[in-house]
């Protein structure tokens, strides 16, 4: 987060030089800050815009509750995630077991709370890794151009054109069934979209005067990329990464359904709770709809938040 200060200065240079073609809230930000005398930071503006979008705000509240449920699972779950009550196998939802029990007499609700940790962790880790790789590839390709650009973008395009799930299935079969195996597999095909976006943005940015000025002052290339380019890309990176979280949670559940996700032997995830219980869709439907609903609600919230971020971080898209 320490990059913000540098980002703002780089951006105001960009604004002054090119008449509002900065990375984050630009044109409107300038107008409003003139009106309020004291300059309002682009981030506060973005936050204000985000707050006006009801679906995004509601989603944030719901997501916070879901995350809290997962984090506090040890304290709020009525049973342990592996605690068996062998007298109550496949019990339907009632007062004791709010969401029923599974074939081993484990409480469904407790497992959903605990499983949320892994599912959310996979989603966030994949998004972080993909954002890191995508940003580096995009900046390097865009800034250096030439051969580096040609090679990296050819690779990106090719990977982007591959049928993603097919690649993921094969890769998941080759790797193990731990949490990190799944994270690696999913990150491997999640970074390309951002790389393209970042590259496009960098191509436009590097022609701008503030970058040229930095270059003329003899600022090392690495520092130009980190202090002048990166801060202007934060909007794109945040939006894409947040949407990746949802996609990764869905992908993890799909892999688990195919028996290729995190193994139930390690820990419960929303995905492997579904994958293992497909056969009980008729006799014990709560084993299928409850974890599925957890996935859908979480993915929905994350998608709404990502969309809200897009609108609030990039005013040119607000009217969409």
């Amino acid at each position: 987060m320490c990059a913000w200060g540098a980002g703002r200065s780089a951006m105001s240079e960009g604004l002054a030089a090119s008449g509002g073609r900065g990375g984050l809230p630009a044109g409107r930000g300038e107008a409003e800050s003139l009106a309020t005398e004291r300059p309002v930071s682009p981030w506060r503006l973005a936050l204000r815009r985000f707050g006006r979008r009801r679906p995004a705000v509601i989603s944030t509240v719901v997501l916070v509750l879901i995350v809290a449920g997962a984090v506090l699972a040890d304290w709020i779950a009525p049973f342990g995630p592996t605690e068996q009550n062998l007298d109550d196998i496949l019990a339907s939802p009632d007062g004791t077991y709010l969401l029923g029990t599974d074939t081993l007499g484990r409480d469904n609700l407790s497992r959903i709370l605990h499983g949320g940790r892994v599912s959310l962790l996979v989603g966030v880790m994949v998004a972080l890794i993909a954002a890191g790789v995508g940003t580096v590839v995009g900046i390097v390709a865009g800034y250096f151009g030439g051969l580096a650009d040609a090679v990296l973008m050819r690779l990106t395009d090719t990977l982007l054109a591959l049928p993603g799930l097919m690649v993921v299935i094969v890769a998941a079969r080759l790797l193990g069934d731990g949490v990190w195996d799944v994270v690696i597999v999913l990150s491997g095909i999640a970074w390309m979209a951002l790389a393209r976006i970042v590259r496009g943005k960098v191509l436009a940015l590097k022609e701008q005067e503030f970058v040229e000025a930095a270059r003329a002052l003899g600022v090392p290339r690495r520092q130009i990329m980190r202090r002048h380019l990166l801060p202007n890309l934060v909007g794109e990176i945040t939006v894409t990464a947040s949407l990746t979280v949802a996609a990764a949670i869905l992908a993890e559940s799909t892999l688990s359904f195919l028996g290729l996700g995190v193994s139930p032997a390690h820990t419960a995830t929303w995905g492997n709770m579904l994958g293992g219980n497909e056969g009980f869709v008729v006799t014990a439907p709560w084993l299928v709809w409850a974890p599925g609903l957890a996935i859908v609600v979480t993915a929905l919230c994350v998608n709404f938040i990502g969309d809200g971020l897009r609108d609030s971080l990039d005013p040119t898209q607000e009217e969409r």
């Binding site: 591959l162 993603g164 949802a246 579904l274 299928v288 599925g292």
Partner: protein, 333 residues
């Protein structure tokens, strides 16, 4: 444009070779048909060795691959490693036909609904219809396809029949024929297609309608739309002839590019509904380590996806004369 297409093809061929070798190698790593023989105590070591030699599994990986590639490019798909040495092509052909039927049904239905929903949303922006359809499309991209499939099976296969008090389920939930049916029966076939098509379509409708909505919003703000209105044209004519027509240009290419995504949905849908298409064949072949079936399935898919991507780029240039091909910057939207 022809030069551009040729250059793209020149890049694609090595990529396809890499994909085929990668798949071949992965199939061997994941599970070897020979390893399964070892587990069977009733097969003597000699018989096993003879079988391995018969299949050519004892030869170096490169030799096996080279032999397969040589046959494949001349159109000889060979015989299956695990399916009693039967010819591979009939399996692939049948699966391909089933999958194409499912894709055609899902994509045409989704386009019809998605484009209409997106257009109406854009025209009546901010209306209840707009909010609802945007909300539903968010739901569409947030539901795992397999879970939607399971819920559809549960609803149409069980609950609906129970509520209505009718005996057999309204719609079949698996396969493509009713058990014991002889010969071709169009109605039966269509009934088996309904649920998989629905499962596959929700996501597509969501994506298509969002593309169409934003494309349409952009177009409807253009000057020539104002001109058309100023001329006194009927609003329906303005929307359909002037608006939709140009809004479809970017949507067409996006739809073609998304085909890679569609493959994922297909694999999952076919698995849930036990629909005997390429996706199910892919999973089966991968589990049994049968590269003779896995490779054609992967290669056909990869070629189809690459071809459609190329078509998408070329189409963009044809439909929108402002676009010049060559620099490759137009792929990203």
């Amino acid at each position: 444009m022809i030069g551009y297409a040729l250059r793209r093809l020149a890049v694609t061929v090595p990529v396809l070779v890499v994909i085929s070798f990668g798949t071949f190698w992965a199939a061997g790593e994941i599970s070897s048909p020979a390893a399964q023989l070892t587990l069977n105590p009733r097969i003597s070591p000699e018989a096993k060795q003879a079988y391995i030699e018969l299949l050519g599994l004892d030869r170096p990986l490169g030799v096996q691959y080279g032999k397969w590639l040589g046959n494949f490019v001349t159109g000889d798909f060979g015989t299956s490693l695990v399916r009693n040495g039967q010819d591979v092509w009939p399996f692939v052909e049948r699966a391909l036909a089933n999958t194409l039927l499912l894709v055609a049904a899902a994509v045409s239905l989704s386009l019809l609904i998605g484009l209409a929903v997106g257009t109406i949303s854009a025209v009546r922006r901010g209306s209840l219809w707009d909010y609802t359809s945007v909300g539903v499309s968010f739901l569409g991209i947030s539901i795992p396809v397999f879970w939607l499939g399971l819920m559809l099976q549960l609803f149409f296969g069980l609950y609906l029949a129970n509520w209505l008090g009718v005996g057999p389920p309204l719609l079949p939930t698996a396969g493509i024929y009713s058990p014991g049916r002889q010969g071709f029966d169009l109605l039966d076939r269509v009934r088996h297609l309904i649920l998989p098509t629905m499962a596959l379509s929700l996501q597509l409708v969501a994506v298509y309608s969002r593309y169409m909505r934003s494309s349409m919003l952009e177009v409807m703000g253009a000057d020539y739309i104002r001109t058309a209105r100023a001329k006194g044209l009927r609003e329906s004519r303005v929307v359909v002839r002037h608006g939709m027509r140009s809004a479809l240009v970017p949507v067409t290419t996006l739809v073609a590019i998304d085909i890679g995504q569609l493959v994922g949905g297909l694999i999952v849908t076919e698995r849930v509904f036990q629909y005997p298409g390429m996706g199910l064949l892919f999973l089966d072949a991968l589990n049994s380590g049968d590269y003779t079936i896995l490779l054609p399935v992967v290669m056909i898919t990869a070629v189809a996806v690459f071809a459609l991507n190329l078509v998408a780029d070329l189409l963009y240039g044809v439909l929108d004369p402002r676009v010049r091909l060559g620099r490759g910057a137009l792929r990203h939207v």
